[in-house]
């Protein structure tokens, strides 16, 4: 997302918004004076030239590994928005809180951000557990949360905008692809033992059995953090599935792939499709252990389009040449931009007005690194699913891109 095109875009939109109420103001704004129109703020932390938002991710604890990238992307987006003139003429200030990988802490810090700091929006949470913990606070205090992670669906709150993909946008297309391209008939499902893998596998099983006419030959869950996969690998070897379908997370993920390779199960002999490996995870797992296996995501760092090239460059400039960008990091980057578009459309920071503006189905980002995204009235994004094949250097080659998929957080026949 280049600064130049952005400038043009935001000023263009701002003119339209202002023109509705006061045409002369629009002219003044367009001439780039740092002047701000009075906006309805209902006690929010908005002054004449600043607006305060919250970032709430785990900086410490086990989840820090995953959430680091998300908060880096959010800061980058906010920095770019500020450089291009801010929102409604106001610079964005950030209050960052640490969720510390502890779910009650997420709820407590959400309350702090909403009640004490009166932030206009919060970008944060990563695991479903942390979102579920913070959700009641956002609903009670009428806050606004931009949630970046791909997740199991089955949720739609007025106070949350989901910038990652829900289950059907990731799982179904991936299974269709592997059935069609690899002629897969038998599947072995394996995941970590908590809500996201279990819900995802439930959906996957229904799709495999009812739609694809395939067979699930094994379904297996390992405790979080478990690092011993010897017995499971033996079971898989005995069942000889066409596809291993995996949703193992965290430290276990690394052990799982290292031991698969050590057991001689490589991409030469076995097709494996996972919904839990992004560039972030590959750093720990090592490209050589994943080579030839597939991930289904909506974004890969290697995507070759001008938006993404500019995004990757800006991200590395801000956070270091060695940084990698995973699916969730990109989704987190969309949060501030989607918020900006909605606020400018509403002409105010008021949560109800911003939510209403978001629900009209016409908030879109043509400059998203993943390509084009559009906000659906159900608070999720229209997005494309992509299959990436991992290479030794830790990057993926995109081998398949779907059409834009309509988000459907409550899929019928899959519950």
């Amino acid at each position: 997302m280049s600064d130049k095109s952005d400038n043009q875009r935001s000023w263009g939109r701002r003119k339209v918004v202002r023109a509705l109420g006061a045409l002369p103001l629009g002219i003044i704004l367009a001439s780039q004076l740092s002047w701000a129109a009075p906006a309805t703020t209902t006690g929010q932390a908005v002054t004449d030239d600043t607006v305060t938002v919250g970032i709430l991710h785990s900086l410490t604890g086990t989840m820090a590994i995953s959430e680091t990238g998300a908060q880096e992307a959010e800061k980058l987006a906010i920095k770019q928005i500020n450089e291009s003139g801010g929102i409604l003429g106001r610079q964005i200030k950030i209050i960052q809180e640490d969720g510390a990988s502890d779910w009650p802490t997420f709820a407590e810090k959400s309350r702090k951000l909403l009640v004490n700091d009166k932030v206009a929006a919060v970008f944060g949470c990563w695991t479903s557990a942390s979102r579920k913990a913070a959700l009641p606070v956002f609903e009670k205090e009428n806050g606004l949360l931009y949630y970046p992670t791909f997740y199991e669906g089955l949720e739609q709150s007025k106070n949350v905008i989901y910038t990652g993909q829900e289950a059907t946008q990731q799982i179904l297309d991936g299974l269709n692809w592997v059935a069609k391209e690899k002629g897969a008939k038998t599947f072995y499902l394996i995941g970590s033992d908590y809500i996201w893998p279990r819900t995802s596998m439930k959906i996957a099983r229904k799709h495999i059995e009812n739609v694809l006419g395939g067979k699930v030959v094994g379904e297996e869950y390992k405790p979080l953090g478990d690092t011993q996969f010897g017995s499971v690998i033996n079971k898989i070897r005995l069942k000889k599935p066409d596809v291993i379908y995996a949703a193992v997370v965290g430290g276990s993920n690394v052990a799982w792939f290292k031991q698969l390779k050590a057991a001689g199960i490589t991409s030469k002999k076995q097709t494996l499709l996972t919904i839990s490996v992004t560039e972030d995870e590959v750093l720990g797992i090592g490209g050589e252990n994943l080579e030839g296996f597939y991930s289904i995501m909506k974004y890969f760092q290697s995507q070759d389009n001008p938006n993404n090239v500019a995004f990757v460059k800006a991200f590395k400039e801000m956070w270091g040449e060695d940084s990698v960008i995973g699916d969730v990091t990109q989704a987190a980057y969309l949060g501030p931009w989607l918020w900006k578009a909605a606020v400018e459309k509403a002409g105010t920071f008021d949560v109800d007005a911003v939510v209403k503006a978001s629900e009209e189905g016409d908030i879109e980002l043509t400059t998203a690194p993943e390509g084009y995204v559009k906000l659906h009235p159900n608070h999720h994004l229209w997005s494309k699913a992509r299959v990436g094949m991992w290479k030794k250097d830790g990057q993926a080659e995109v081998v398949y891109t779907s059409e834009l998929i309509e988000p459907d957080p409550f899929p019928e026949g899959y519950q």
Binding site: P223, Q228, K235, A262, G264, L283
Partner: protein, 307 residues
């Protein structure tokens, strides 16, 4: 198991046996260091996992340094890094004993708190130094992959390596504890500190070196585990529960007990896991442990601990 040929069943049986043995070697290597510290000194070292992480990070450091400066040395660095991991973790342990633990020998519950605090400090230091993301050293090719024994049996090389290291370490510990004069002094101090002091053993020095040895072995374990899992600031917490489980179940002061306990837990876990799901296998294993400990609270092999 209908529908499978004898060949297949035989191959699975062999590999399943190997999965059990490989889990056994991992558990034993984790527990050896703690068995020395907890068993011989009575110190509940909650930072044991972090000393393992210290070893793992040492390996990672040496790996990236080697890759940058002397890439030709890559195939061999791993052996060297295990020694380095032992030294680094051992020296850290020596310092921890000197600064912290030695003041608390008379207050065992306070050592629990203090070492837990130490573990938090170490975790945050790793996070500040190496970042929150998990890292993996680049492993030499000979360590990864499988040795195809037959068409159907693949033996994981990293598993063999850990097994070999575990056997070597166990033998070395046994030699140290039961054949060397230093081991004699450790055992004397364990059995009767006052008498040991009276006959001229420098019990403080014995304590310090015992603690350092335990931590050093933890560091070695950490280095070895980089071949099967990754390393993050909180990696240690993944291992600490299993480690205590093995040591407590085996009987705190008995090294034989530690071996027997690691073996039975590993076999139970891996055999159960083949027939039921991973989570349930863990539940049954732990349940059995609890029941056995109810009847034998001292563990499998009870012997005298320093009171």
């Amino acid at each position: 198991m209908g529908g499978y040929s004898y060949d297949e069943l035989g191959a699975i049986f062999a590999m399943q046996g190997f999965a059990g043995i490989s889990l056994f070697s991992v558990l034993l290597l984790m527990a050896l260091g703690l068995a020395i510290i907890f068993g011989q000194m009575g110190v509940i070292n909650m930072a044991h996992g972090e000393f393992m992480a210290a070893g793992a990070y040492t390996t990672y450091l040496i790996s990236s340094l080697t890759e940058t400066y002397i890439p030709a040395f890559m195939p061999y660095y791993f052996v060297f890094s295990i020694v380095a991991a032992f030294l680094v973790a051992g020296i850290l342990g020596y310092l921890a004993e000197f600064v912290l633990i030695r003041h608390l020998y008379k207050r065992p519950l306070d050592t629990l708190l203090a070492t837990w605090g130490l573990s938090l400090i170490m975790q945050q230091s790793y996070r500040s130094i190496f970042g929150a993301r998990e890292v993996s050293p680049t492993l030499p090719d000979w360590l990864m992959g499988a040795y195809p024994a037959t068409d159907m049996i693949d033996i994981p090389i990293n598993g063999m390596f850990v097994l070999g290291l575990t056997i070597f370490t166990t033998l070395a510990v046994f030699y140290l504890m039961f054949k060397s004069s230093w081991g004699l002094r450790v055992r004397a101090t364990t059995q009767n500190r006052l008498m040991a002091g009276a006959v001229g053993i420098n019990t403080k020095k014995v304590d310090r070196y015992t603690f350092a040895l335990g931590c050093g072995i933890a560091g070695m374990a950490g280095a070895a585990f980089t071949t099967i899992a990754s390393t993050g600031p909180t990696t240690g917490t993944l291992y600490i529960v299993d480690t205590f489980m093995v040591v407590v179940f085996g009987g705190a002061a008995s090294l034989f007990g530690t071996i027997a306990s690691a073996f039975s837990i590993a076999q139970a876990q891996s055999i159960l896991e083949f027939f039921i799901s991973g989570s349930m296998a863990k539940v049954f294993t732990l349940l059995t442990l609890v029941i056995i400990l109810m009847f034998k609270p001292e563990g499998l092999f009870a012997s005298k601990v320093r009171r």
